[in-house]
């Protein structure tokens, strides 16, 4: 017997969206079963709202309201617009992997030009490969987060990258998500495996083609870092002003590895970058830094869980938000230290700069420590620009906006400077400069 469950209009709409999408979703058999299970998890939970602790500051029922239908497959006109958007952010010398409206586009990507130690396939081709017994694993998730489940149910494509053991990949691997279709969703899911002893740089960009409005980007990245790896991972979110971007990363780090991450959130109306990072091998160092640059009524959320499952690992989180107008920034950082993870050294520092009385910063640091020989700490501040510093600069001849810009750059510099790749650091700096120029 069916039990009648009251559903909001949003949830009914989602069922329709999934039903409509079904014909477009790659993979049958076990893959379709995994999708069905995932959509059932999602339907039970619905869009996250403020009574779900992890989403209390980012109520998607109010902010997003509904899941939009999938964007159509890109045609020639769409690809033309995507090509223009790509030109502005393509890194010189990088291996580009381009997704347009949720589909990998080989003609814009460097799929064939891989370094010999790098294997790249698309999620779609693997899910459609009935001979691959493990294909459905690419959609499995460990969390019960509604948006992660929704992604698993709806993912149309993504890149599946494998970097061989010992490979030193000089060229950055740049994954570019371009939204062209307005009023539609893209669901993407990528897997990156970095083999033992490998070194690489992974970049992810989210951009809108000119005229793309009101779209939703739903992305998930499953990153597996082996032992003795050195990896830099930079994310730059620059979506359209009325777009939504919900990204979930699941990261596992092996032993003696170094992962240096940076995330910049700007652009979209609603952005959430949530990451669960598990320190699974001893002696590893994790650095996760981020900057939110928000104005108008933008809402930007960075939610991180750093899980120290083993002893002798270090984690550092430096997060900065600059907020103008009525913008709202959320930082939630949880550090978990498991019972045997002695000698863990975990710290996070989040600071928000409020340029307007109506801006809001919500900082929620949490420490869950079950071991007794650890060093963990957190700090959170929010405030306006320091009037004493501003006057000093103005007394030296800097006009008000220039003085503010210099202090804002210094404020976010601490999060940007640890980026190891010079081009990426300069790019992140220039994004911040452009943001400040719009202000001035």
């Amino acid at each position: 017997m069916n039990v009648a469950v009251a559903k909001t209009g949003t949830e009914r709409r989602l069922s329709d969206v999934f039903a409509l999408a079904r014909g477009r979703l790659p993979g049958d058999g076990r893959v379709a079963e995994v999708r069905q299970a995932a959509i059932e998890v999602y339907e039970r939970l619905g869009l996250p709202h403020r009574r779900v602790e992890e989403w209390k500051y980012t109520d998607l029922r109010a902010l997003m309201r509904e899941v939009l239908p999938l964007a159509p497959l890109p045609d020639a006109a769409v690809l033309l617009r995507a090509r223009e958007a790509l030109a502005s952010i393509a890194m010189a010398g990088a291996q580009k992997l381009v997704l347009v409206d949720g589909a990998v586009v080989p003609e814009l990507s460097d799929l064939g030009a891989s370094a010999p130690d790098v294997t790249i396939r698309t999620l779609r081709e693997i899910l459609d490969d009935a001979a691959n017994a493990a294909r459905a694993d690419l959609l499995l998730t460990e969390t019960s987060d509604a948006m992660v489940s929704l992604n698993a149910a709806m993912a149309t494509d993504g890149v599946v990258i494998s970097i061989a053991d010992g490979a030193h990949v000089a060229a950055p691997i740049q994954i570019v998500h371009i939204a062209v279709a307005s009023g539609a969703s893209a669901f993407t899911r990528s897997h990156v495996r970095v083999g033992n002893g490998a070194r690489a740089t992974l970049v992810e960009n989210f951009v809108a083609a000119g005229g793309a409005r009101g779209y939703q980007a739903h992305d998930a990245v499953i990153l597996s870092v082996g032992d003795d790896v050195v990896l830099e991972h930079v994310r730059l979110m620059a979506d359209a002003p009325d777009a939504v971007n919900i990204t979930s990363d699941a990261i596992t780090i092996g032993a003696r590895s170094k992962l240096n991450m940076f995330n910049m959130t700007g652009g979209g109306a609603v952005s959430r970058f949530q990451g669960v990072i598990k320190m699974a091998g001893e002696g590893s160092e994790l650095s996760v830094n981020g900057v939110n640059l928000l104005r108008g009524t933008q809402h930007g959320d960075t939610t991180l869980v750093v899980d120290h499952a083993v002893p002798h690992c270090t984690s550092r989180e430096i997060f900065r938000a600059v907020l103008d107008d009525r913008a709202r920034s959320v930082f939630q950082g949880r550090i978990i230290v498991r019972p045997h993870a002695q000698k863990t050294d975990g710290k996070m520092m989040t600071r928000a700069l409020l340029l307007s009385d109506q801006a809001e910063a919500d900082n929620k640091p949490e420490l869950e420590i079950f071991a007794d020989d650890v060093t963990c700490g957190h700090g959170a501040t929010s405030g306006a620009l320091d009037e004493t510093l501003l006057f000093y600069l103005r007394a030296r001849g800097l006009p008000e906006k220039d003085a503010q810009a210099l202090l804002i750059q210094a404020f976010i510099g601490e999060a940007i400077e640890p980026i190891g790749n010079d081009d990426l650091r300069e790019f992140a700096t220039s994004v911040a400069q452009r943001w400040l120029e719009v202000r001035a």
Binding site: R396, L398, A403, A410
Partner: protein, 250 residues
């Protein structure tokens, strides 16, 4: 025309009047010392001339080269040639000293309609001045005043003074927190900037600084007014008699 004319200046801070009608005239080439006890309004005067927010001018005027200084923003005043050497120079983490110096210098030049300094000219000039003030190059790469000692911070102020070439320098308690050696280096730097085109107002508690920077005029402030003016000997006189005698005069 005098370089600076302060006429009957009345200033309030949070409903409390600090300056009660202050007069001061400074001509190009002159060095004026302003002395007085704590709370006499010396620093308020320097802040109001530089344009620090938080002060309410309720009466009087300040003319700089004949122009109404009080209607100008702090950065406009700097571009016109007003320089305040801070009693407590601030630390600005994340802004390299070199970047700060170049940004400030070029902002002033731009405001005056002058071309920006070329990088080689700028670097050459900074290095020369830094060397004369015993400021190591290493310090210029650090954040503005970050990790600087008290003496280094004051020398950094003198460095900026030399670089920006202002026509009016106000030195607010330059000797506070400095030992004799640090004081001598800073004072030598200031003396090197003495010129017929430039005036200085030296605000100090103690006569000691005036052994190094010898003034043409000394003014005594008490309770928000100039209560006595004289030559450099007035400073020596004060050293023996103290400020108490002026309490009644004010």
């Amino acid at each position: 025309m005098p370089l600076l004319e302060v006429k009957n200046l009345q200033v309030r801070v949070e409903e409390r009047e600090i300056l009660h009608g202050l007069d001061l005239t400074v001509n190009a080439g002159e060095i004026h010392a302003i002395m007085g006890p704590n709370g006499s309004g010396k620093s308020t005067l320097s802040h109001v001339i530089a344009g620090k927010p938080g002060y309410e001018v309720t009466g009087g005027e300040v003319l700089f080269k004949g122009e109404d200084l009080l209607s100008m923003a702090p950065d406009q005043r700097a571009a016109k040639g007003v320089f305040l050497a801070f009693q407590y120079p601030v630390e600005i983490p994340g802004v390299a000293t070199m970047t700060f110096l170049r940004t400030a210098l070029n902002a002033q030049r731009k405001a005056r309609g002058e071309s920006e300094y070329s990088t080689p000219d700028f670097l050459k000039k900074v290095r020369e001045v830094a060397k004369s003030l015993s400021i190591p190059q290493e310090m210029l790469k650090r954040g503005v005043n970050v990790g600087f000692s008290g003496g280094e911070k004051k020398r950094n102020e003198v460095l900026q003074m030399a670089l920006f070439e202002p026509s009016l320098c106000i030195l607010d308690e330059m000797d506070s927190g400095l030992d004799i050696d640090a004081l001598r280096i800073a004072a030598d730097g200031v003396n090197a900037l003495r010129s017929p085109d430039r005036a200085m107002i030296v605000i100090t508690h103690y006569q000691r600084l005036l052994n190094y920077i010898v003034p043409d005029f000394v003014h005594v402030m008490s309770k928000g007014r100039v209560v006595k003016s004289g030559g450099k000997d007035l400073a020596l006189e004060l050293e023996s008699t103290g400020y108490a005698q002026f309490d009644d005069a004010a």
